[in-house]
């Protein structure tokens, strides 16, 4: 038994070293990438770009379900983005509250006939509205069909070749569209492009914009700031140099419409529609030998509210992981398949064996170490050393993400915010990480049960100029 425990422990250690070495590779690759992106961002002449008619027109797709609390502010903010040619298509996904009435009242909507083809099948559209006060706005009222279905309805109605999917509760920075289109101006063959999503909790929001970026004082949203920095600033930047990530955040990502239509739009049965879509895009473009890039650009920023309670966060993380499992299973034919190039041979194995299986292996590691220790097969110092190394890696990666933020965009200017970030980066390993592992582990159970539910997501609303907005918005997504 002693040998079995030692061998298993060693295997788990090797797994962690291999996985973390890959993270280290991403970390190294993120350095030249952030250097280049920061230089380009600093040198961009936005005034000239705003005046130029060269930039491609964009349709902003906004699915909305029971968003009464935030819909007027967020749509107003979207309509005042700094970009020359764009339209905003809001889809009321059969809301049970008065989201549509809010829109109708705020933007003086009037019904118009439908003037587009329903290329992607969706739930029945009840009516299409235009605004008397805002020519850029189109509102679609349809039967409830979920976020993916709403996005498909918005794609059908969109007029422009680029579409950007934005959650109704997401705050986009005014110059984010200009920054997102930089890669088009650099002549790259872009199929999709993702920007950074940051945590809005704790920030001061004024007129639908983040006026003052702060790191939340509460642990749970605060530690998610570090998580988001880690996921976006080095994870996705590193993937830029490895052939593109499999994820573009559903809260803020831009796609070429022709490719979206070619893959049949968003899949309504998926619980993580963004990951699923990007994998299908890779598959389609590789199969048809189309030259493309799916890069991540760090300086366009959207702010989103993250869960503040463990209950809601657990549901979100469980759903994300369930979606990852489903996507990896559905597209298993791409795994280690040279036909799909670096996506099949690098990204898919990483997401399958690294991201997807990591919680299983981590829990196995804890269990085996505990069993070995209980039966006196492993001594205490070895067990502690093992745990220390595993946690130390996580801390290093989190601190690196803070370094990248500090040398590049420096959104959190106050010393207190920096200290909080460092604190969360260190404390994350103690308790929080284990909780996320448990939530992700539960996702395997629910995935095998074939669960498709989104769960409940309670939003508190953004702090408005330091004053808490009391409205509560509850978003429940059906199957």
């Amino acid at each position: 038994m002693s040998t079995a425990v030692h061998v298993t422990d060693l295997l788990i250690l090797v797994y962690f070293l291999a996985l973390n070495s890959f993270y280290a590779l991403l970390l190294v690759l993120s350095i030249p990438e952030i250097w280049e992106q920061t230089r380009l961002a600093e040198d961009e002449d936005f005034q000239r770009l705003m005046q130029s008619d060269a930039l491609p027109p964009i349709t902003v797709l906004v699915p909305a379900y029971n968003e009464t609390a935030t819909i007027e502010a967020s749509v107003t903010a979207m309509l005042t983005l700094e970009y020359r040619t764009f339209e905003v298509v809001v889809v009321n996904d059969g809301s049970k509250d008065d989201t549509l009435d809010q829109l109708r009242h705020a933007f003086d909507l009037y019904e118009v006939p439908r003037t587009y083809r329903e290329t992607l099948p969706t739930q029945a559209v009840r009516a299409v509205y235009r605004s008397r006060s805002r020519t850029r706005l189109l509102v679609i009222d349809k039967e409830n069909g979920g976020k993916a279905d709403s996005l498909n309805a918005a794609i059908n109605a969109s007029r422009f070749p680029l579409v950007i999917a934005v959650d109704a509760d997401t705050l986009i920075e005014p110059d984010a569209l200009l920054r997102l289109t930089r890669s088009f101006l650099l002549g790259r063959q872009i199929a999709a492009v993702g920007g950074t999503v940051r945590v809005a909790n704790g920030c001061v929001v004024k007129d639908g914009r983040v006026a003052d970026a702060r790191v939340p004082r509460r642990f749970l949203p605060g530690v998610q700031v570090v998580e988001y920095l880690r996921a976006f600033l080095f994870g996705r930047l590193g993937w830029n140099r490895l052939g593109g990530s499999l994820v573009i955040s559903g809260a803020f990502g831009m796609f070429r419409k022709e490719y979206l239509l070619a893959v049949g739009g968003y899949q309504v049965t998926s619980v993580v529609e963004d990951l699923d879509l990007v994998v299908r895009l890779h598959r389609h473009l590789r199969r048809h030998k189309i030259r493309y890039e799916i890069p991540f650009i760090p300086d366009p920023v959207a702010w989103t509210e993250v869960p503040e309670s463990g209950r809601i966060l657990s549901r979100q993380r469980e759903r994300w992981h369930r979606g990852l499992i489903a996507a990896m299973w559905q597209h298993r034919g791409m795994l280690l398949n040279p036909r799909y190039g670096r996506v099949g041979c690098v990204a898919m194995p990483f997401f399958t064996f690294g991201e997807m299986l990591a919680p299983v292996v981590e829990v196995a590691g804890y269990l085996i170490t505990a069993v070995g220790f209980a039966f006196h097969l492993i001594d205490l110092s070895f067990a502690l050393l093992f745990v220390l190394v595993a946690w130390g890696y996580g801390m290093l990666l989190s601190l690196w993400a803070v370094v990248l933020e500090e040398v590049s965009f420096r959104r959190y200017g106050r010393l207190g915010d920096l200290l909080r970030l460092l604190g969360y980066a260190v404390l994350e390993a103690f308790g929080y990480r284990q909780r996320t592992v448990w939530w992700r582990l539960k996702a395997f159970w629910w995935a095998f049960q074939g669960r498709r539910a989104w769960g409940e997501m309670t939003r508190k609303g953004f702090e408005s100029a330091g004053k808490q907005v009391a409205e509560q918005a509850t978003a429940r997504r059906a199957d």
């Binding site: 040198d43 130029s52 235009r130 650099l186 070895f382 130390g392 601190l399």
Partner: protein, 353 residues
């Protein structure tokens, strides 16, 4: 080496790295704060001097002295920002003055640098203060391997009048992505005579695969001297060329344009038909009304949509055509007419845009 020893080594390395990262973060803050404290007064001083100079209350030498006190990238940023606010003659005076500044010479020399960001600095600098002596440098930067450098260099075309640069940019144009192409087009509009001359030459290269992109760009210029070139290309074998010609001709209300479009509206490729009927709507010649009404019965939805929209631009007769189609025998034309007649004026205007 045992697994324990290995773990100890890994843990020690991790510890060192953790401390190093924290020190790096704190040092970075400190260095930035110091640098900002040093540079901010110079930056504010430059803004003040620039403002006085723009009002004629300061000499260009004062501006040059203030610029020299800033690091080159910051000085370039300031020049780019202020270039849009100062009248051309005064700005050229500053550009001439910068030719003799040591730091400006270094920036010019970096157009040959192996580092792309140095070349980008040079291109941005030249985009606002290039003189005729810089044509060689700009030409090199236009052909740079880094697209950001190319784009910045292309901006120079707005300020420097050079046939050599225009020709180089136009030769590059078809190989560029659509967005970059549109950006080039916007900067090349300023150098119109030289551009038109070169385009007329390019129109004669009938077998050139770049021809569709050239026509697309030429159409954006809306230059009457190019109309004849477009009409001669209406019978080109490549449908993409014909489609671009059909699109471009809508901007030239002329009997020859109408004749060419009347031919193209019966093309075998539907994108050509759609563009031709759209252009006929833009010209609005009543003689073409039967053709547009015929297009309303086209097998392709997009052609029918364009025909319906074109009829709305052809006055009362066009509208009557739509009303007739709405109660006519052809189901496709009837549906499209209903759809178009139901559109608000605002929606029609947006479609037209």
């Amino acid at each position: 080496m045992t697994s324990r020893q290995f773990l100890v080594i890994v843990a020690a390395v991790q510890g060192v790295l953790l401390v190093a990262l924290v020190v790096l973060i704190i040092l970075n803050r400190w260095v930035r704060a110091r640098r900002r404290a040093q540079l901010d007064p110079h930056r504010l001083e430059l803004d003040a001097v620039m403002q006085r100079w723009a009002l004629g209350q300061a000499q260009s030498d004062d501006v040059l002295r203030s610029l020299a006190r800033l690091p080159a990238p910051l000085a370039i940023d300031a020049l780019v920002t202020w270039s849009a606010r100062i009248v051309s003659e005064r700005w050229q005076e500053l550009a001439r003055g910068l030719e003799h500044q040591w730091w400006a010479r270094l920036v010019r020399a970096s157009s040959r640098s192996a580092r792309w960001w140095k070349r980008l600095d040079a291109a941005r600098f030249l985009s606002v203060v290039a003189t005729p002596r810089d044509v060689g440098r700009v030409l090199r930067l236009l052909r740079d391997s880094h697209p950001a450098v190319q784009i910045a260099a292309a901006t120079t075309l707005e300020r420097v009048d050079s046939q050599l640069l225009v020709t180089a940019a136009l030769e590059q144009l078809p190989f560029l992505g659509p967005t970059v192409q549109a950006y080039y087009a916007s900067v090349l509009k300023r150098a119109r005579p030289a551009v038109v001359r070169h385009l007329q030459l390019l129109f004669r290269r009938l077998n050139d695969p770049r021809l569709p992109r050239i026509i697309e760009f030429a159409g954006r210029l809306q230059e009457p001297a190019l109309r004849e070139g477009f009409t001669t290309l209406a019978t080109h074998l490549d449908a993409e060329v014909r489609s671009q010609v059909a699109r471009a001709l809508g901007r030239f209300p002329h009997p020859e344009s109408v004749a060419a479009l009347s031919y193209l509206v019966q093309d075998e490729a539907w994108p050509v038909r759609a563009q031709a009927v759209r252009s006929l709507g833009m010209i609005g010649d009543p003689k073409t009304l039967p053709l547009v009404r015929e297009a309303l019965r086209d097998a392709e939805w997009w052609v029918r949509l364009r025909a319906g929209l074109a009829l709305t631009r052809m006055g009362t007769t066009g509208r009557n055509g739509l009303l007739e189609a709405e109660v006519g025998a052809d189901p496709d034309a009837r549906d499209m007419a209903r759809l178009i007649l139901g559109l608000s004026p605002q929606a029609l205007a947006e479609f037209a845009a």
